[in-house]
Amino acid sequence: MLTLSNINASYGDVQILRDLSLTARSGETLCLLGRNGAGKTTTLKTIMGLIRAKSGSITLDGEELTTLPPHEVPKRGIGYVPQGRRLFAEMTVAENLEIGLMTRGRGRAVRERMLDLFPVLRERYRQISGTLSGGEQQMLAMARALCLEPRVLLLDEPTEGLQPSMIALIRDVVVDLKQTDVATILVEQRVDAVLSIADRVVFIENGQSREEADAETLRANPDLVRRYVGIA
């Protein structure tokens, strides 16, 4: 279980997160919803240690992450797929996966699992990743993060700029992850996507976690979404 307690974080003098608290449990999909600039991406970056929390605590199954250098956080079991995918564009699909596998040192079985999860990557295995379509790149970015065998997967707008068929595929994978013990924290602008895959939603406003609801409640109460996001 990943727990954020009273996290404060800033970009220079500008404070972004204010006493933000949330919890992601094993096997659940937690979505962060909020307007642009609310602090969703900053929350993910703070979990990864890319932005230092000024105060508060981030723990994974009781282990403190706040003081770790950023490169140690993935080793503790947190995978991160940033907005815009950020692949190693000049490397092949195989090499991108290999880099992901190296940290854990358990190669073949995990790689096969990833290729089963994303069959299109098997077809494109020797292709330079920069030449993949947007959806395929997103799948590779997710597969590479999953190569770390994380306990928590952070996804920052994974469906951004993708065609509907690809969005459906990504959604299916996120749903499949629920069958494992992986907790997924998803930042997503598409409310329909959120409502179809989320177990719980945390609304973030001005860097604070304002309200929390399960997907059932939100589907029955679109006003809540409208209040924090402006659309429903």
Partner: protein, 334 residues
């Protein structure tokens, strides 16, 4: 992977076989190629840092000079024999690489370029300041009589050529092994996206330091070999010019290709040689004869031609010659 190894073995074998032909028919080029192989070793080291890790150093001459002076001063002042002096020279470069890397790698991008340049300038000025030992820009020569290992005369052209080839081959194969190793993959990943590499659980600082030390070691080996094989050490080799040269060689041959540094060094060496020896003096004479304009500066302005070549390179082959070959025709080229 096998075809990459075969390709490198073929290149090394070619350089081995061409020696006797060159010595018999083209003695001038024989001497040039021995020098090129030593300089290409320097470029191979530079390529590990710049081509594969994405770190542009403007101060690599300090490592070349550390190897050169570490070796040459021990021979001249300490009266050491060649072999231990050579290894101490390499050790000097490795140690300097570790110290500079530890400090300079706290910066990135332009900051790294400036910091490495400043360190190199400090080394260059130190070499000039301790003129009584280094003899500054004038430099000093190492007597022919001491330039031998176990009775093998390193001043003999054939021996010198093969000694340079052995050093180059070792560094080239090390570079190939590194690039195809897991650590090499991480270096390339850092070049592509450092933050992303960190988010996959790697410590970029540690890997960059590793690349810098290996690169410095190869530069130092080239510097020490230059002193031993050509019998000369001078502060010119610590100047900024010798930091720019490997960058140009690598850019021309193809950054991030193992054989690019060799190709770039050969082409740039002969471009400078031809431009300064015949093309630019010929152009100056042409201008004078046809237009009656005296252009004494034109004869020595060979860098104009080098600059033109680089502009054309950037326009038509921005990934360097072998980089373009890999992109268009040979995707497996390491």
């Amino acid at each position: 992977m096998i075809r990459s190894i075969v390709l490198h073995i073929v290149v090394i074998a070619g350089l081995f076989l061409i020696e006797s032909f060159l010595l018999e028919h083209y003695a001038y080029h024989h001497g040039n190629l021995a020098r090129i192989l030593v300089l290409a070793t320097y470029a191979v080291g530079y390529n590990i840092l710049f081509g594969y890790t994405g770190l542009l150093s403007l101060g690599h001459a300090m490592f070349f000079a550390a190897g050169m002076y570490g070796c040459a001063l021990l021979i001249r002042i300490g009266e050491w024999s060649i072999a231990p002096a050579f290894f101490v020279g390499v050790l000097c470069a490795l140690t300097l690489g570790l110290i500079v890397g530890f400090l300079a790698l706290r910066t990135i991008g332009v900051g790294f370029m400036i910091v490495t340049l400043m360190f190199a300038q400090s080394i260059y000025l130190t070499a000039l300041y301790y003129n009584e030992y280094t003899r500054g820009d004038e430099g000093f020569s190492i007597p022919q009589t001491v330039r031998s290992i176990g009775g093998i005369d390193l001043t003999d052209p054939t021996t010198r050529y093969f000694a340079a080839l052995i050093l180059f081959s070792i560094c080239l194969l090390m570079s190939l092994a590194l690039v195809q190793s897991k650590a090499g993959r991480v270096l390339i990943a850092i070049r592509e996206n450092e933050d992303r590499t960190r988010m996959l659980g790697f410590n970029p600082f540690r890997y960059k330091l590793f690349a810098l030390v290996i690169s410095a070691g190869m530069a130092g080996a080239a510097g020490a070999a230059y002193a031993v094989l050509f019998g000369y050490a001078g502060a010119t080799f610590a100047s900024v010019q010798y930091s720019i040269f490997p960058l140009l060689w690598v850019l021309l041959g193809g950054p991030g290709t193992t054989l690019g540094p060799l190709l770039g060094t050969i082409l740039m060496f002969y471009l400078v040689d031809l431009a300064s020896g015949s093309i630019m003096p010929g152009l100056a004479a042409l201008v004078e004869n046809n237009f009656g304009i005296e252009a004494p500066g034109l004869a020595s302005a060979y860098l104009l031609l080098v600059g033109l070549a680089l502009v054309l390179l950037v326009l038509f082959a921005p990934k360097g010659l072998l980089g373009s070959v890999r992109e268009r025709w040979v995707p497996w080229l390491p």
